[in-house]
Symmetry: C3
């Protein structure tokens, strides 16, 4: 997320109880995860093995749990628990704003757009022109929807990222990483009934122009789906997955987080994509392989009794 106006690092230090090191006069302009930070962003790191990646990233303000050397032009916020300090900042700038009616006063809805009964439109949502939002759809705060979008009934856009930090010394072990990202749905997208598209942790979940989803599809936090994709029913996509343009996923396909599916790939039903796969090919299996190779393998499996038979004849 980007702040509306810059936030002084001194204020951040005081607000979180952190100690400043490095440039103590600059302004933070946004919050982001390590894989997509830009200049001016706040990020955090609490595992020693990720220190150098974070310190060398584009992030300008780094919340860290050890007093290390501060790179030129950056600011360190030294805090014993960077996760908590980060969450405190997120909650301050993206507080939970209770809704008291079905369409919030701060939502902007374009001309020719129909909101059917029971639709909830949260705070600061923008919806474009000529959309149909079917009954009982829930659109969380800060979502951005383009023109000519159709969202079928009971779908949920913008629920929180599923992202927790484990604290084994506590009774309730999981601390929630509060999300400050958004969902962005581009023009001409159609989303089926009963789908869920989560907001990004700090960046945006994006559904590209012209993409069509069937029902019961789950898209994890910060995933980026390309243009003109087709996903059949009950597909699930993990957080921060990148799915390029014109990818076709058949029913019940599962896609792990943090991977890329190349442009134009086709994945057959019930397959599981556990790591990145190239575009322009057809895949099957859990974990997936190229479909032709997988089909051959399935045939080989059927020949095991024949192999056994032949083996017993000669030994």
């Amino acid at each position: 997320m980007q702040f509306e106006k810059g936030v002084p690092v001194q204020w951040l230090a005081e607000f979180t109880g952190a100690t400043l090191k490095g440039d103590t006069n600059q302004l933070a302009t946004g919050i982001n995860e390590i894989h997509k930070v830009t200049k001016g962003d706040i990020s955090f790191v609490d595992f020693e093995k990720y220190y150098s990646a974070c310190l060398q990233s584009a992030a300008t303000i780094i919340i860290i749990n050890k007093e290390v050397d501060c790179p030129e032009g950056k600011t360190l916020l030294i805090h014993p628990d960077p996760f908590s300090a980060y969450v405190k900042i997120v909650k301050h700038f993206r507080p939970f704003e209770p809704g008291n009616k079905h369409v919030s006063d701060t939502a902007v809805v374009g001309e020719g757009t129909h909101l059917q009964p029971g639709v909830f439109v949260g705070n600061h949502v923008r919806i474009g022109k000529n959309c149909i939002i079917h009954p009982n759809v829930t659109i969380y705060d800060h979502t951005v929807i383009g023109d000519n979008v159709i969202i079928h009934a009971n779908t949920v856009i913008g629920a929180d990222a599923f992202y927790f930090k484990r604290r084994k010394d506590r009774a309730a072990q999981y601390d929630k990483l509060e999300s400050c990202g958004r969902v962005i749905i581009e023009d001409h997208v159609e989303i089926g009934a009963g789908c869920t598209i989560d907001k990004g942790v700090s960046g945006d979940t994006i559904i590209g122009m012209g993409t069509k989803f069937d029902n019961h599809i789950h898209i994890g936090h910060g995933a980026v789906i390309g243009k003109n994709c087709l996903f059949a029913a009950q597909v699930g996509v993990g957080g921060k997955a990148i799915i390029e343009d014109e990818v076709i996923l058949w029913g019940q396909v599962g896609v792990s987080k943090d991977l890329t599916i190349g442009k134009g790939a086709i994945v057959y039903a019930q397959s599981g994509v556990a790591s990145s796969i190239e575009g322009g090919k057809v895949y099957f299996g859990s974990p997936v392989e190229e479909a032709k190779a997988k089909m051959k393998e399935l045939n080989w499996v059927k020949r095991i009794p024949e192999i056994w038979e032949r083996l017993t004849r000669i030994s």
Copy 2:
């Protein structure tokens, strides 16, 4: 769908910009897909390889993109883009009718039926007697529900078919085939929470008498589910699948489109039915095989190391 009264083919030609050939005076009585057209129906064809199937079907009025010979007693509507002409007709006779309250004025709800809070009942819906429709269920326009039906919360009945035509030369590549079919739910059916049952493209999606669905089930457009079936949670069924009476599908089973599952078949959890299977048998696997054969195969796989061992001893 059937029209309320016949539509002159000359009006259709003018409305779509098509050229008439054959009988120019008859009335169209309905719209249907090629696999279930009857006399009087409009259908369309735009691929040369399907021309003869469509021309020889029961359809009386055929929208086609080539001037071919018109079979006796039929009417051709010659149009450069039959898909668009067809969609224009569907949109005219089944326009989107915005809802402005939770139960539309044109809905008919039988005696003893409870509609819980948040239920949306669209235009022209008919619901029978002694039903319970739990909170936040969405029932799209034209749905027909019998007597003694229970629908659990947040289920969606009658969302649009997932059916698109690709136009690779456009930025947004997929054109939507507008649906004019319905969902018909027969007596004594129970549908779990969070299910989605799509309407047919032009025919009806049918859930047979006495069938029971657990939660999160997806039924694609135009599928026909028999009587007294049991589907466990998270089952997905593709468009136009035919599932005969008394079929049992366990959890997370996936069924492809355009196939038949015979009466009384049982399919074990997580299986994938990719093509038609006979009734009266038990199945497992993705793709499914008869369960006993599949279990044997799984055992054979476990014996590969033994085969290898034996082979290395003799060679």
Copy 3:
């Protein structure tokens, strides 16, 4: 379920048309399934092979379809159709109570809890403090929710158990076992969007303290989920499964009913757990095996062509 006050067995006999045998003066204090009955409970049995298990259980009042010897201190309700008699009792003590507004008058909602627009809260529901219930969530009657719980949009808590008795001689073959159990969600639980958690048939479905669910998760009737579990999206858990503390299930995992997953087990995506598995281990496959063994097996399968090659060279 427990009755508010004891119910005389003579009233039960008269109400159901059963014949009393054994102690004809005692009070029933609750209703329960055979696997969790306690003293004072009513249970029922209608298959001869389960007679002795039921008669020897802790149940005090047993509805049975044969006149057998009555164990000391118990009461038999002899009835030709124990299932129907049992359902009649359940319906009497847990009648369907129509809701006429979004938050029922008998619901109790704790301080600091936000109910967002479109949330339905049924009769006799208790919700603790500082919870957020997002839009269009449905909470059925009798649900109990602790403090600091978050439930995301369009989730359904407490729908009926998927439990039917087949009567092959009827047109609509399945008779519904009416549920009288509840869902209990402990403190610090977070439930994703579009989930469904069914109530127990007579006991309670429990989601343990600190457990976190992603979206589209299904939990069957009477399942007991431990503390600090993490379930990724589209997981399905069958009825009465017991999942101990700190279990992690990745996306699209399916868990059968009536089994136990031991503490701290991790199950990889798309796996199917068909029978009980020990805690502290990592699993994969459908049906699951220990992940390392399964990975080895997948590698062995890839070597079949090599085995064939070697075999043809020597025979």
